[in-house]
Amino acid sequence: MTGVPTTRRPTGSFAVRAARTVRRRSVLSGAMIALTYTAAILAMVPLVLILGYLIVKGAGAISLDFFTQMPRPVGEPGGGMANAIVGTLILVGVASAIGLPVGIGAGLYLAEYRTSRLATLVRFLSDVLNGLPSIVMGIFAWQILVRPFGKFSAMAGGVALGAMMIPLVTRTTEEMVRTVPNTLREAALALGYPQWRVSLTIVLRTALAGIVTGALVAVARIAGETAPLLFTALGNNFWSTSLWEPIAALPLQIFTYANTPYDEWRTLAFGGALVLIAIILIISIVARLVTGRRHAGGGD
């Protein structure tokens, strides 16, 4: 696009041609900006529509009861999803206990030993794992934790979600650790720090805000997963906080209630979806705040 257009006859002075080029470029530039604006607005439309629809359909189900009451049988009015909310929190907790240490450790390894052959392999496998359909994670957890024990359990669901978290956390940790300037590593080494302490106390601490953000994004991502829970956590209509029993979860409860012909349950499903989105939104906002503080406190 640069230079003098060759298809046009060289009429007029240089100044006239230059003016024409400038005009053409500004028109083109304007058109492109308009296109990107349109694309940006289109990208937000689904989110706004979904949120709006959920609020319209589900807001009616949200009350104190929703958070404190158990599900009730069909026909009985009221009831809530206390067990599913707590269940989701437990599942996310188990998943984090598995996914965060492994993911952060692997990400640190990939960034600090980025050229080793093992790092290349791990990076590749982590990308493959990231692309794996979530239901396959469920099958994996079912195979190792449900079949041998003959019982669905919160543990199996948590493991499936944790396995999903690992590649997400690995990737963001690697990226964040890579942003730590090499001069800091050298400075610490020159002070007599052993390599492992450089990694843990200098590199990891410097990258911590970014890693926390990545971890929260991963938590938000898995909190709404349904497929890996279908034949692991299974769902539970009763109150249970045991790791070795089937457990209720918001996405499962939504799935179950939305598939019924009963209006009350379907309203509850919409309410559950709204709460789930609210949880994810809150986590994302916290992640944003953590990142924001890092930028403000950087000063470098």
């Binding site: 001069t183 020159a190 002070l191 492992w196």
Partner: protein, 273 residues
């Protein structure tokens, strides 16, 4: 913990011969992969001397410096042969721990490198935290060491009221003096400075130079610099390097007034570099 932290250089103190130079470099060669960056350097640095290493970019002066605290080998593909003795002890002898060497040889880099997650106080004390057992100072001792290091680095008066503030809030010149204080806190025998004023303004540069001049009372200093005036101002002896080789070493005044090698003369009169 994977690293067996054996004590540095066995039988160190008793056998130290008073006549041994602070740093004695013998037929030192250093490579980056297949690039031969330092070629057969022999150099003895006296106690309480400031030695400047000058030379054009890429002449191997920083690499030579980084061999003196075994930092060169931390770069993938890097290799060193020859020997460097620190007060008589061979720091490249088999079984010698590079980490222990670095606790005796401090280093300050071209750009200030304060640890961004640490306060001013924590930065200065950073090198003390990795000391073991009885070497590790108590809390009150640490406070004293931090104050002394900051005073010696001529930074105390500027930061004494905000030791808990983040180190990244300091100006560039202050950050560099903080890094010097950090290096001083562990009482190194030798201090290596790798173009310490390259990223500083003239006033900050002057302060660092004055500091280097003062430090020779307590330790041996080796400074790499691009700036020949700086070498002339701060050093007792000057080394001129070219293409990985040490061309000449002489008392600073002699080297600048009457260089012995035509290549040195060409460089200091500005004919290349």
């Amino acid at each position: 913990m994977l690293v067996a932290e054996t004590e540095l250089m066995p039988a160190a103190e008793p056998s130290r011969a008073p006549a041994a130079p602070a740093v004695s470099i013998e037929s030192l060669n250093a490579w980056f992969g297949s690039v031969h960056a330092v070629r057969g350097v022999d150099l003895a640095v006296g106690h309480h001397e400031v030695t400047a290493i000058i030379g054009p970019s890429g002449c191997g002066k920083s690499t030579l410096l980084r061999c003196i605290n075994r930092m060169h080998e931390t770069v993938p593909g890097a290799r060193v042969t020859g020997s460097i003795r620190l007060a008589g002890r061979d720091m490249y002898a088999p079984g010698t721990n590079a980490i222990a060497v670095r606790r005796h040889v401090g280093m300050v880099f071209q750009r200030p490198t304060p640890f961004p997650t640490m306060s001013i106080r924590e930065n200065v004390a950073a090198g003390l935290k990795v000391l073991k057992g009885s070497d590790r100072p108590s809390r009150s001792e640490t406070a004293e060491i931090v104050e002394r290091a900051l005073q010696r680095a001529a930074l105390w008066d500027e930061v004494k009221d905000r030791l808990g503030a983040p180190a990244t809030g300091l100006s560039g010149g202050q950050q560099q003096r903080l890094c010097i204080a950090r290096a001083l806190a562990t009482e190194p025998e030798v201090l290596l400075l790798d173009e310490p004023t390259a990223s500083l303004d003239p006033i900050s540069t002057q302060r660092v130079e004055e500091l280097v001049y003062e430090l020779r009372r307590d330790m041996t200093v080796v400074i790499v610099t691009h700036n020949m005036q700086q070498a002339a101002r701060v050093s007792d002896r000057t080394v001129f390097m070219l293409a990985g080789e040490m061309v000449e070493v002489a008392p600073t005044r002699a080297l600048f007034m009457a260089p012995g090698d035509p290549r040195t003369e060409a460089y200091i009169t500005g004919r290349f570099g």
